[in-house]
């Protein structure tokens, strides 16, 4: 969580009224200081108003605004969280089939004294890093590396913690050539066979099959401003509305927010974010994540491997809405 203190904040459109207010407050303060006038009472009121405004803005975000928060360039990534929550950790590389995908990372770690396997999609921290990490869009080799690490966890009886943060699985010629569909499909099935607890957390964007490929677990957690979609709103808009400009309408219709998915009984728990989003206070956010993971792990601990697998199956078995008539 080494967010440099003096880095200029990256503002989202809807944060602008807040930024303006904050700038005005500091201008007034400066003016008062120059002229030796005491405005502390007024400043105090204005600051309270700024806090209130921030809360108002972040409590009423539209789905497409939430996507902006979920995709915020400063939003903590998988690597940030792993480093922040684990006592120690060692990254492991490679799918043992010829690839090491930098867009999906993982390794062995110790969480509160306990060995675990952690893995997740990795977005870059800046443009150069993002290009190297393919913007968190994993290739077949990434999903196979994830599977290999999950089998390792199964072998050594370690719980698995996965972190989802991808716009989607990589759609390129090589991804098809090396079996993107097969790699994801294999994980979906194999994750039902693992004897250890699996907790998946959507930390940013959950993009379709690319997210689900490491998302089959006993628990699904999601940060408050994370999104999880069947198709990106942009793609959905261009297919169903025949107009990519209708992305915000699609985002609304697709029901992609944590609150929506809790209602649809797909999600188990919403992890709150600090006001202003995870990037506003990464350290606090990591603490919330760690607490949530440990609590869910202790819920799962009493279960035998057979019970874990059965509950995991039943959890997914229930998902779906349809009508069935007797005739």
């Amino acid at each position: 969580m080494n967010t440099p203190v003096n880095r200029k904040p990256i503002l989202l459109d809807f944060e602008k009224p807040l930024a303006e207010l904050e700038e005005r407050i500091s201008q007034i303060q400066e003016l008062a200081d120059e002229n030796d006038v005491d405005v502390s009472e007024q400043i105090h009121q204005l600051e309270a108003r700024a806090v209130q405004l921030r809360q108002e803005i972040f409590h009423s975000l539209s789905p497409s605004q939430r996507i902006q928060v979920a995709r915020h360039p400063r939003r903590p990534s998988t690597m940030d969280y792993i480093q922040a929550i684990s006592d120690e950790w060692l990254e492991l590389h490679g799918d043992r089939r010829g690839f090491d995908d930098p867009a999906l990372i993982g390794g062995v770690a110790r969480l509160n004294g306990r060995p675990v396997v952690m893995l997740g999609h990795q977005k870059g921290r800046d443009t150069k890093d993002n290009v190297a990490r393919n913007f968190g869009m994993a290739s077949p080799g990434g999903y196979r590396k994830a599977m290999r690490l999950m089998e390792h966890a199964h072998q050594f009886r370690m719980p698995i913690l996965t972190f989802i943060d991808t716009p989607g699985a990589w759609a390129g010629v090589d991804a098809e050539k090396f079996g993107q569909g097969e790699a994801i499909a294999y994980n979906l099935r194999a994750m039902f066979s693992l004897d250890v607890p699996i907790i998946a957390t959507v930390i940013g964007e959950g993009g379709s099959g690319g997210a689900l490929g490491i998302g089959v677990g006993d628990r699904l957690l999601m940060f408050e401003h994370s999104v999880y979609t069947v198709a990106s709103p942009e793609a959905c808009a261009s297919i169903l509305w025949k107009d990519a400009g209708k992305a915000s309408q699609a985002a609304e219709a697709l029901k992609i927010t944590a609150m929506d998915l809790k209602k649809l009984e797909i999600l188990d728990e919403i992890l709150p974010e600090p006001v202003g989003g995870a990037h506003a206070d990464p350290v606090k956010t990591a603490t919330i994540l760690k607490e949530g993971l440990l609590r869910n792990l202790s819920d799962l601990d009493p279960l035998t491997p057979q019970e874990l697998r059965r509950h995991r199956y039943e959890k997914f078995r229930r998902i779906g809405v349809f009508v069935e008539s007797d005739v």
Binding site: A171, L188, L212, G213, I239, I266, F316, I319, V321
Partner: protein
């Protein structure tokens, strides 16, 4: 006129006895192959499982024809026929999802995009799921997921092999994340079927893409495909847009997947039933010697 010319003329719509032939087309006696343009006597075409005898083009076939082609006469028993889709998200794009469903149900006579049941193939019992591309592009929503899951569970309980004829554009966006989760649900059911050492064969037909490819289509113990069908994870247009380059010839075809090791065999439709029956026989437990 050489023999070749005669063949050529035969294929051209403007050949001499055009008028009488067009009357026959109107009656449905003749069918024109959409790939090579040759006129085929419809009865012959049907007897050949709707595969053009000239160019081997596989004309799309749908649920009822598939059942006739694959299942022994009078052995088909459909299951879970009363499941119907609803509109859990209140989804509306340019048209409400509810209206889209009603229209396509009226047009196709189907409740949703998959039919499931049990039947015999050359006397061998099997659980069969058939996706129908006419129903919203064979897209997978809650009903498709539930029906396939129940089919697989039924097969696990009754020790049956599962065969799924895949044809789908992927997850049904109008049901949002509920659709995506069907990929996991079906895969979970397949894991249980697999734990029971039972055989699962998906048959990939045109087109098999998206979430279906990234789940049950690629999870077969043995994976068969119809010639030249499109099989892929991402749509070709998506890939072209991301890469801004033209795609290699034959990319995402059954033959491409075969040469890259993701399909076991390409089987022409007239041989499909015999091939499936052969595979089921090869994987049946041997009677133990007395």
């Amino acid at each position: 006129m050489s023999l070749f010319d005669w063949f050529d003329n035969r294929r051209k719509p403007g050949s001499p006895n055009r008028e009488s032939r067009e009357r026959e087309i109107a009656d449905g006696l003749w069918t024109k192959c959409p790939a090579c343009g040759v006129m085929i006597y419809t009865k012959d075409l049907r007897a050949n499982a709707k595969v053009c005898p000239e160019c081997n083009h596989h004309i799309p076939v749908y649920t009822q024809e598939r059942i006739q082609q694959l299942i022994d006469l009078d052995t088909w028993l459909p299951i879970n026929q009363t499941l119907r889709p609803t509109d859990p998200l209140g989804f509306r794009d340019r048209k409400p999802y509810r209206d889209r469903l009603r229209e396509i149900q009226e047009k196709t006579g189907l409740a949703d995009a998959v039919q499931t049941g049990v039947g015999e193939m050359e006397g061998l019992a099997a659980a069969l799921g058939i996706m129908d591309f006419r129903f919203m592009g064979g897209s997978m929503g809650s009903v498709v997921g539930e029906k396939l899951t129940r089919l697989i569970e039924h097969a696990t309980q009754n020790q049956l092999p599962v065969i799924i004829i895949c044809a789908s554009g992927g997850a049904r966006m109008q049901e949002g994340m509920l659709s995506l989760m069907q990929m996991a649900k079906i895969s979970g059911a397949l894991e249980q079927h697999r734990q029971s050492h039972l055989l699962y064969i998906p048959v990939l037909t045109h087109p098999t893409t998206g979430g279906v490819t990234a789940s049950f289509a690629m999870l077969g113990d043995i994976i068969l495909a119809e010639p030249k069908c499109t099989i892929g994870f991402a749509g070709k247009r998506v890939i072209e847009q991301t890469l801004r380059e033209k795609l290699p010839d034959g990319f995402q075809s059954a033959e491409y997947l075969l040469s890259h090791g993701f399909v076991d065999a390409i089987v022409s439709r007239p041989q499909l039933k015999a091939t499936l029956a052969q595979l089921i026989r090869l994987h049946s437990p041997q009677p133990t010697a007395p």
